[in-house]
Structures are given as C-alpha cells and as structure tokens.
C-alpha cells in the first residue's frame, strides 16, 4: 500500500477541482507557505464532464447590466430556495473569474473590436453569458488543465478512484484511493480535502451526462454524516437528442432557435411564456428563452396532449434553426451541427432537430457553508457535487460554469488557509480505515451470497428514478421509487463482481459507483416525497401541491445517512435576507414585477 | 528506465537541432524545384531530346554549351541539380530511418555529404565551362 502526505488533497479533476488546485497553489504562494497539493481523478482531468458543457458562463459584463439584475435572475430562477448571501458573493466575483480565465488563455469568442462577446441565455434578463463557440466547457477545462501544468506543487494522480474519506473526530484526515491501473490501494494523508466530484445525472436513465457522473463524492461525504441538501431538485434540460440524451445547447435558442410541436406551432406561448417573439429576435425570459424547468414541463404537457412527434421510439418536439441561415449556424453552433449529423443523422441547416428533455443537472448536493466547508472540519466541496446554496430549486444555465470558478477558487483558498494551521493526523488512524476498505473490496470481489447482478440493479435504479422523480411527480410514484431504492440497497449487499483482475477492473468500479448511486438516490427520493409542494424543478401533480408553499416549504431539505437503516430528513431555513419571495414569472407575465 | 529518462533530460537528445532547419530549408526548396521545374526539364532533356523530338539544333553542342556555361546556366544547375539533390538526400535519410536501416547519425552524414559533394561537382563543372 502506497502512502503519501499532502497539505491539500483535491478529489476531482473537472473545472471545480482544477480551479481549486490552482487557487490553493496561488494562495499558498502568496502567503509564503509552500504546500503540496494532490489532485486525484478517476479519469484524466480533461475527460471530466466539464468538457461537455457547451453554452457558456455567466457574469455581469456590460455597463447596462448590474449585479442586482444577475442576483435577481438567480434568486427567482432558483424559486427563492437559494442562499442569498451566497448568490451575492457569486455575482460579485463572477466577472473577475472569467477575466482570469481569459488571462490564462481561454479562447472566448470576441467582438470585432477585440472585446469578449456575450450571448443570451435562458432565464437571464440580459446577455451576460461568455462563450467559446459552442464548446465553452471544453475550452475552459483545457485552459485550466494546461494552466495547472505550470504549478509543480500540484501533483496529479490520474486514474485514481477515491473510495472513501478518512475522518477522525469530526475532522477529515485523508482519502483512500484505488489506483485503477494496478488495483493497489493508496493512502493520502491530508490536512484539508476538497471534494469536486461533479453531479449525479447518471442516477437517471435518460440524461445528458457523461458516464462518470455518478455522484461518488456526494455519497462519500453523506456516508460520513454530512447532509445532502435539496437533492429532490434535478434539472431536466429541455433539449436532449432522442436515444442518447446528448445535449443540444441552450445557446441554440439564445441564438434564435425556436421550438415547435409536431404541427409546427410554437407551443411555448401556451405556457405563460408568450407572447410569441418574432423569428430571429429572441428576447430574454420570453418563449424559448424561458427557464429550463418551464420548458421541460411544457414538453410534458404537449406530450400528454398528443402533440409531440416521434423519432425512433422517443416522443419529440423540434428545435428549428433553419431561419438563422447556414453561415451563422456553422459559425456559432458548429459542434451542434456535428452532433446532430453524427448521432441522429439530421443536418440542422436543412431540418429541424428532434429533441426531448433529459436529466441534466443536480441542483442539490453536499451541504456546505458559504465558504465551501462542510460539517466535517477540513472537508470542503465545490462544483456540481456541492450545495453551497447557489441554484436553489432550479439552476440557471451558464451559472454553473462560473460557479466552478468562483467556488473552486474559494474552496482552494480556504483549504490552503486551514492546511497552514493544521497538523497531519497519525498515519495509523488512516491505516485502520484503509483496512476496512480492503475488506469491503474483498467482499465485493469474492461475491458470496446470491451473487446479485449489478447490471440488473443499475437498470432497476435508473428506471425507478425516471418513473418516480421525472418532470412531474406524484406521491405514489415517489413512494414507490423510495421503496425501490431501499430494496435495491439491501440487494446491493449481495452483489457480485465477476472480474477478479486487479488491473483496470472497470466492473469493480461500476459496482462501487452503483453503491454510491443507490445511497444518494434514496436521499433524492426522500427529499422529493417529503417536499409537498411544487417549486422549480420539483413539480407535483398531487391535489393541493401544485403550487409553491412558502409557509411550509421555504426550506432546504437535508437528508442524513443512517447506515443500513432508512435515511432521515430535516428542514433548514433559507437565507432570504435581500429579496423576499415573489412570484416567479416569465414572458409578459414577468413584466412590471420585481423580476 | 530511470537511466533512460535521465538521458532524455540532460543528454545529447535534448540538444537543440540547429542543423535541421538548414536541411529542411534545402529540402523544401528542392521540393519546389522538383515539383515546378523538373517535369519540364525531364520532358525536354531526357525524353524529347533523345527521341529527336526537338527541332534540330535546339540543343546542339554549341547551343547547349552556351546555355549551360553561363550565369543563367549556373542558376539552372543550382535549381535542377543541387537543390533536388538535397531534397532527395533528406527523403532518403528519413526513408532509411522509416525502414530501420543503418543509424540516423551516420545516414545523415552520408546523404547530405553526397548531396553536397555532387552539388559542388555540378557547379564546378559550370564554372569550369565558363572559364574554358
């Protein structure tokens, strides 16, 4: 067993993890406290899911825009379930972070005069989304990764799968990881640990997420007693490709794409997002530029009314770009054209793209305070895995790439501060925990008992999540899903791995991920069931629960792990210090109001 | 393994290759000549001429001598003989590496050496002709 010591260990090499690593390195340098930073990732950093983000990153940029406006959009977009102090910090640090990215070489798209260009995005009042063609996440991730190579103090552990945190007396003391290439366990002792492991979209069958987005970090923190917060809020993106779920970016609509049902009618005007905006003149918060939850819900309604088309065996509506003209489409949305042509054989220049909603983003996650620290001392979380309180009940597109930077950096700095004042724990404490891990692994591989198939369990999980926690939810559906998760967790104890090899055993990893997934799926179902109202991405069809209920539910849900016993839920107050809850309205209905 | 790495860091392999730009420039210039000028040269001199397709006297001994042993002739030889020779030398050197024949350091010397020698010879012939 390898054992190494680091001041800071970062789990996750996506946007948040890399930004945290650089943030920590810079902070340490500035304070002349040399620190060694380990960056672990189960895939090479540039394979992280951030690479797939297409649309852009938001920050108040133009003179007409204001921090207040960005704040308002984010708060109302999140249906007031956001921590307002956090949002305030976020909107004030967003611009600086995007400029920093530019300074590191990110190839942002430009205006003719050489300034950075911004585009419109759903739910945002004005154009404030920075973009790099339609590969924003790709360019950001590669810029961060390449920049991280400048720092010799950052040591990467690529393809190390983190199995568990080591926690002692309420403080984190290190992590235990599996070197994928050799199957060897590695112990990393640390003074501070940052989780940046991304979301959990793979809990669902139909999603826009990469295969690695399995919620590992959430489960690790959760198992050590940190609350998972607001896990019932799962964002459906209205425009995924049928079949694969591959994302067609919101930027298509920002650039002027329109949504049609099978009759060629712009159905969004029927769902409180009208009046219809003229072709090629998209307007923020109207029609196609309404927020994602509303658009996905409108799809569901159209589907119920039988006005959706068919593509293969998926029900679909159509995203029409043709009026933008070939030249514009190819310049602004080249990746989309490539994707549509390859994966469904449709050329967006010539035909409308069939699309349907797909699970896209996990609003909830590891609960942290406004400085990214969790309830375990020295354990921080940032990025999609965290619930710092920015997104509430519904994330606005292009807020999360910025979140990775703002809170990645903050987490890095905080961790660096802590590491400067902390000592390593005794190695023997870690070794004891590692031995427990070894036993768990051995049990998985020896597969005693009935030898449950992980494939079956996984399919049962994603199916239950989709049917019970979809765009619209019912008491009965959620209850059933929650029951299913509890049964599946029991069956998981008898799971069997066929592959006995130590080298690059991906079957073993899938099984471990499934274990993580089942735990957080239970939390997600529990939160959903107990939230007896409709808010943001959580929409119920049950009688009397179709509206927002601020009296009882202007609260974060917190789910706590209880080992083999059913998880427990508590409610937590929301920080509403700046803006009192108001109606969340879009289209003309949103005019005049506070929004 | 460590040893090999160490060599890469500090050993001769890490050195700047200041000669390569020279060979590559000659190779490129030769490539242009080979592509643009040589088709015509080969067609007229190596095919039409021996087949008697050129008008009588077009390349009689006198005319040929006058054309070649002159300043334009000197340039012609540079473009049609010398540069293409370096082009060939470069490709042969890399070709030998491609099929793992000999070793590159030696091949380099042999190939570029031969090209240089023949070039000097060719240009020397023109000068000799001009001084005659």
């Amino acid at each position: 067993m390898q054992q190494r010591d680091f001041d800071i260990v970062i789990v996750g090499g996506g946007g948040a993890g890399l930004r945290a690593a650089i943030g920590a390195a810079e902070h340490a340098k500035e304070h002349k406290t040399p620190q060694r930073i380990a960056l672990l990732s189960k895939v090479y950093p540039m394979r992280s899911h951030t690479v797939a983000a297409e649309g852009g990153a938001a920050a108040v940029t133009s003179a007409e825009d204001s921090h207040q406006a960005h704040f308002d959009d984010t708060v109302s977009g999140g249906d007031w379930l956001v921590e307002q102090g956090v949002v305030d910090y976020f909107v004030h640090h967003a611009y600086q972070e995007l400029v920093q990215m530019e300074r590191w070489g990110c190839p942002w798209s430009r205006k003719d005069d050489g300034q950075v260009q911004v585009r419109r995005f759903g739910g945002m009042k004005t154009a404030r989304t920075w973009f790099a063609a339609d590969k924003t996440g790709f360019h950001m991730l590669h810029t961060l990764f390449q920049t991280s190579l400048k720092y010799p103090e950052i040591e990467r552990f690529d393809e190390y799968f983190v199995l568990d945190l080591a926690v002692h007396e309420g403080a984190v003391i290190g992590v235990i990881a599996l070197q994928v290439a050799t199957g060897e366990l590695t112990l990393l002792r640390a003074k501070a640990v940052i989780l940046a492991t991304g979301g959990a979209g793979r809990l669902f069958r139909f999603n826009t997420n990469a295969g690695i987005v399995t919620g590992d970090g959430m489960a690790m923190a959760y198992r050590h007693g940190v609350a998972l917060r607001d896990m019932e809020f799962v964002q459906y993106h209205p425009t995924g490709l049928p079949g694969s779920g591959i994302l067609i970016t919101e930027a298509c609509r920002g650039e002027g794409g329109i949504l049609l049902n099978k009759d060629g009618y712009r159905y969004l005007q029927d769902y409180g997002l009208g009046p219809e905006t003229p072709l090629g003149k998209p307007e923020n918060k109207y029609m196609e530029l309404g927020p994602r939850d509303k658009l996905s819900q409108a799809f569901w309604q159209e589907q119920q009314a039988g006005r959706t088309g068919k593509f293969g065996d998926s029900d679909v509506v159509y995203l029409d770009l043709r009026h933008l003209g070939e030249k514009y489409i190819l310049e602004r949305l080249p990746f989309i054209c490539e994707l549509a042509k390859s994966y469904i054989n449709v050329d967006p220049v010539k035909e409308p793209i069939p699309i349907r909603p797909a699970v896209h983003y996990t609003m909830g996650g590891i609960e942290t305070d406004p400085l990214c620290e969790t309830s375990i001392a020295g354990l921080y979380a940032a990025g999609e895995c965290a619930s710092v309180g920015l997104h509430g009940a519904n994330r606005l597109g292009s807020n999360s790439l910025t979140e990775l930077l703002v809170f990645g950096r903050l987490a890095g700095e905080q961790a660096s501060k802590r590491a400067a004042q902390t000592e390593w724990a005794d190695t023997r404490l870690l070794e004891a925990q590692a031995e427990r891990q070894q036993a768990t692994l051995a049990r998985l591989c020896d597969g005693e008992g009935s030898g449950e198939s992980w494939v079956e369990l996984k399919h049962a999980m994603v199916q239950a999540m989709e049917s019970g926690c979809g765009i619209y939810r019912t008491e009965e559906g959620m209850r059933h899903s929650l029951e299913t998760m509890r049964q599946l967790r029991e069956r998981y104890a008898k799971i069997r791995v066929n592959d006995t090899s130590k080298i690059f055993n991906t079957e073993l990893l899938e099984c471990i991920e499934l274990g993580y997934g089942l735990d957080i799926a239970e939390a997600s179902c529990l939160g959903a069931l107990e939230r007896r109202e409709s808010r943001g991405a959580h929409q119920r069809l049950d009688e009397g629960m179709q509206k927002r209920d601020d009296v009882n539910y202007l609260k974060h849900s917190q789910v706590f792990y209880q080992g083999e016993a059913p998880a427990e839920l508590r409610w937590q107050d929301v920080d509403v210090r700046f803006s009192a809850p108001a109606e969340r309205a879009y289209g003309d209905a949103g005019k005049g109001g506070k929004v | 393994m460590m040893e090999k790495l160490a060599i890469n860091e500090h050993g001769p392999q890490h050195k700047q290759a200041f000669d390569e730009p020279l060979w590559w420039s000659l190779f490129s210039a030769g490539g242009v000549c080979f592509a643009v000028i040589l088709p015509a040269v080969i067609l007229f001199i190596a095919i039409c001429l021996p087949l008697g397709l050129l008008p009588a006297g077009a390349l009689s001994y006198e005319r040929a001598s006058n054309l070649l042993f002159s300043v334009p002739g000197f340039l012609f030889v540079g473009a049609v003989v010398c540069l293409p020779l370096f082009h060939a030398a470069h490709r042969l050197r890399h070709g030998l590496f491609d099929i793992s024949v000999g070793n590159d350091i030696l091949n380099k010397k042999l190939m570029y050496g031969a090209a240089a020698l023949l070039s000097v010879l060719a240009l020397g012939l023109v000068v000799a002709g001009m001084l005659r």
Partner: protein, 131 residues
C-alpha cells in the same frame, strides 16, 4: 513517480508501411526521389560530356536514348508529377498565405502552383521548341 510511467514500446517493425494504403502512398511519395536521383546523375554525366566536347555530347544523347535509360527517365517524369501533386497540397498547410487578414483558399494556392509548372514548361518550349 506514482505511476509505472514512461513505459516505452519496442519501435515499429520495418514493414509497418505495408499495413495500410495510406502508408504505401506515403512511401511511394518518398520513393519519388529514387528516379529523381537517377535523372540528376544522368544530367551530371551530360554536363561532363558537354565539357569534354561535341562527340561526348552526342554520345551522351545516344546514351539517353537507350531504352532502359529512357524508361527510367519516363519514370522520373511520372515521379516528378506525382511529387508535384502531393507537394502542392501540402504547401498551403505549411505556409497559409493571408492577404489583408483573410487566408487565401487552399485551392487557389494549389492551382497557382500548377500554373507555375505550366509556365516553366512554356518557357522551355519557347527556349527549345523552336529551331
């Protein structure tokens, strides 16, 4: 470090280029220099002959007319054209030309180079094609 890194594979076997059409074409392209070298040597011999006198020059022309030499030089002609075809398309990629901030289309550059070939041929025709 932490990984059994820097593993190196044994280099390719020398027949690697037989495995794929693309590589065979590459080798063919590289091999165009073989007939080129032959032709250049012929030309050198011709220059020596020219320096030696009229008889030698006539002898050289006769040598050039012998079937094998003729055949090899026909090959050299074909090689030069094949080389040209492969070389011209590379040029705009190595040196993208830009005029007033806009890059010249590759096709135009390739066409320009072929025009060069024709121009040189015409020059030779003008020089040698008339009595």
């Amino acid at each position: 470090m932490h990984k059994s890194s820097s593993q190196r594979l044994p280099p390719l076997k020398r027949n690697w280029w037989l495995k794929h059409r693309f590589f065979k074409l590459y080798m063919l392209r590289e091999a165009t220099v073989l007939p080129l070298v032959f032709f250049t040597l012929c030309l050198l011999a011709g220059m020596v002959a020219l320096l030696q006198g009229a008889d030698s020059w006539q002898g050289w022309i006769a040598f050039m007319g012998s079937p094998i030499v003729l055949l090899l030089n026909l090959l050299a002609l074909a090689a030069s054209l094949f080389h040209a075809a492969t070389f011209f398309v590379l040029f705009p990629r190595v040196m993208p030309l830009r005029i007033a901030g806009h890059s010249l289309p590759d096709k135009a550059i390739v066409a320009g180079q072929w025009a060069g070939v024709v121009a040189v041929a015409l020059l030779f025709f003008w020089l040698l094609g008339r009595a």
